[in-house]
Amino acid sequence: MRDPFAESLRASLEAWERQAAAYWDSLIRSPDVLRRVSRQANLTLDTYRRITQTLESAGLPGPAPQQDGARALYLLERIAHQLDDLAARIADLESRLDEP
């Protein structure tokens, strides 16, 4: 059985949501709004970076000291995958050569 309260709420909500979404969409596409959000985001990122650098220079744990290790690990992983791939290709070639 249909719930008249739910039906009424849905009809009202859907109508309102369409209007609100259209308003929101125009807002988040506005160059003026986007420039202001961008300025704020850049300030936040710069502050984050300064805090990180301050922590690092004070010898306190921050995300930056791990970066060199992460990069080295990435390069090692990459070499290992390339070697694995090479080994698989060689095995593949060998099995083809063994075929009569």
């Binding site: 709420l9 949501e17 609100a20 979404a21 988040i28 959000v37 961008s38 850049n42």
Partner: protein, 365 residues
């Protein structure tokens, strides 16, 4: 803000929306728990792993399956299980039932190590090794690719780079022309979006930042979702799909930093792919050289990859055997919606089966 719009919202809140919203948010963790028990449950074996990524080979539901394997490539920032959402709403399972031999690339969760992984390495390195592993496992010389969203772009680029590896290409909502009217195209314009500053500061783009961004596209949609839940919270069949989708929508993975940098700058900001200027390593990508059979699927209500930016692939490629499908759905609905299940999946499976070898007239028995 329009005062009538604001007052209308307050009236709705007081008229019952508050109770609906409270029930919905209180059910969040329980929904995600239910979702975890349902999503990605189709039986599969891991045939290859690399870093955080792995390749799943789903156990065939029809023996023997068509010979040519299919590799599904999801977006790097959303979980693969959107294509295997619940047992009854699973594109993977549907394809298996039609005799397709399905493999899935699960990108896994990016860690600080992945911050340095590049888009060039992901496509020309890792994806090539994944395809190589599938070729060896299946004994087939070429693999069909089905890319969804960002994975669609990657599949198209791969097809241009390594045509001998690709038996057929399916682009499911993968943007090719990035200068469209889509919201991400607007947000990432160089006038206000500094990808370098973001990556140099944060490394990987955190999952919670991505999640907030997704929800900001249409935040009021959450209210409609709350009402959908509240109206049908006693309907077990509805709840299964709803819970799995709720989990997926709130379960992104960090975007590897260097991949994000190139994705935004080369594609969203400079639109290099459509201009024929996009490079992977030393090689320039010319989509006009793609000659594999190709199916392009776009959706008219897609806010993430507007249909025109996807459909353009159909015109660019040289394939003689190509088809374009434009659906009346959205970006996610085209993969998990009931309409997709009823209309798209059978067409997709039929198209693939006809290009997967064996008896194409019906599923193998």
């Amino acid at each position: 803000m329009n005062p009538d719009l604001f007052e209308g919202g307050v009236r709705l809140w007081d008229a019952g929306l508050r109770a609906v919203w409270q029930q919905y948010t209180a059910a969040g963790e329980s929904l995600r728990e239910q979702g975890r028990a349902l999503a990605g449950q189709t039986p599969a074996s891991v045939i290859y792993a690399e870093g955080r990524a792995r390749v799943l080979h789903y156990h065939p539901l029809v023996e023997p399956p068509h010979p040519v394997p299919l590799l599904c490539i999801p977006s790097m920032i959303n979980r693969y299980y959107v294509m295997d959402l619940t047992p009854e709403r699973s594109l993977v399972r549907f394809l298996l039932r039609q005799g397709i031999d399905v493999y899935m690339l699960d990108w896994g969760t990016a860690t600080p190590v992945d911050r340095y992984r590049t888009l060039d390495e992901a496509i020309a390195g890792m994806l090539r090794r994944v395809v190589g592993a599938i070729r060896r496992a299946s004994g087939q010389p070429a693999v069909s690719l089905l890319g969804y969203c960002m994975g669609g772009m990657m599949a198209a680029v791969y097809s241009a780079l390594f045509p001998q590896d690709v038996a057929a290409l399916v682009n499911l909502a993968g943007p090719i022309n990035y200068h469209d009217d889509g919201i991400y195209s607007v947000w990432t314009r160089p006038e206000w979006f500094d990808a370098d500053r973001l990556v140099d500061t944060l490394g990987n783009i955190p999952a919670n930042v991505l999640n907030t961004t997704f929800h900001l596209v249409r935040p009021t949609d959450q209210l409609i979702q709350a009402l959908n839940y509240w109206e049908r919270r006693d309907d077990p069949a509805f709840l299964r799909t709803f819970a799995a989708l709720h989990l997926w929508l709130n379960d992104p993975t960090p975007f590897p930093g260097e991949i994000f940098r190139k994705y935004v700058k080369a594609l969203y900001q400079q639109n290099q792919l459509i201009l024929g200027q996009f490079r992977i390593g030393e090689r320039r990508i010319d989509l006009g050289t793609v000659a594999a059979p190709a199916l392009t699927i776009a959706a008219r209500r897609d806010h993430i990859a507007p249909w025109g930016s996807v459909a353009v692939l159909h015109d660019l490629i040289a394939s003689q055997d190509k088809e374009l499908i434009v659906l009346e759905s959205g970006h996610i609905g085209m993969v998990v919606g009931s309409d997709a299940h009823a209309k798209l999946w059978p067409r997709l499976a039929g198209w693939l089966a006809a290009r997967s070898g064996g008896d194409s007239s019906s599923p193998p028995t």
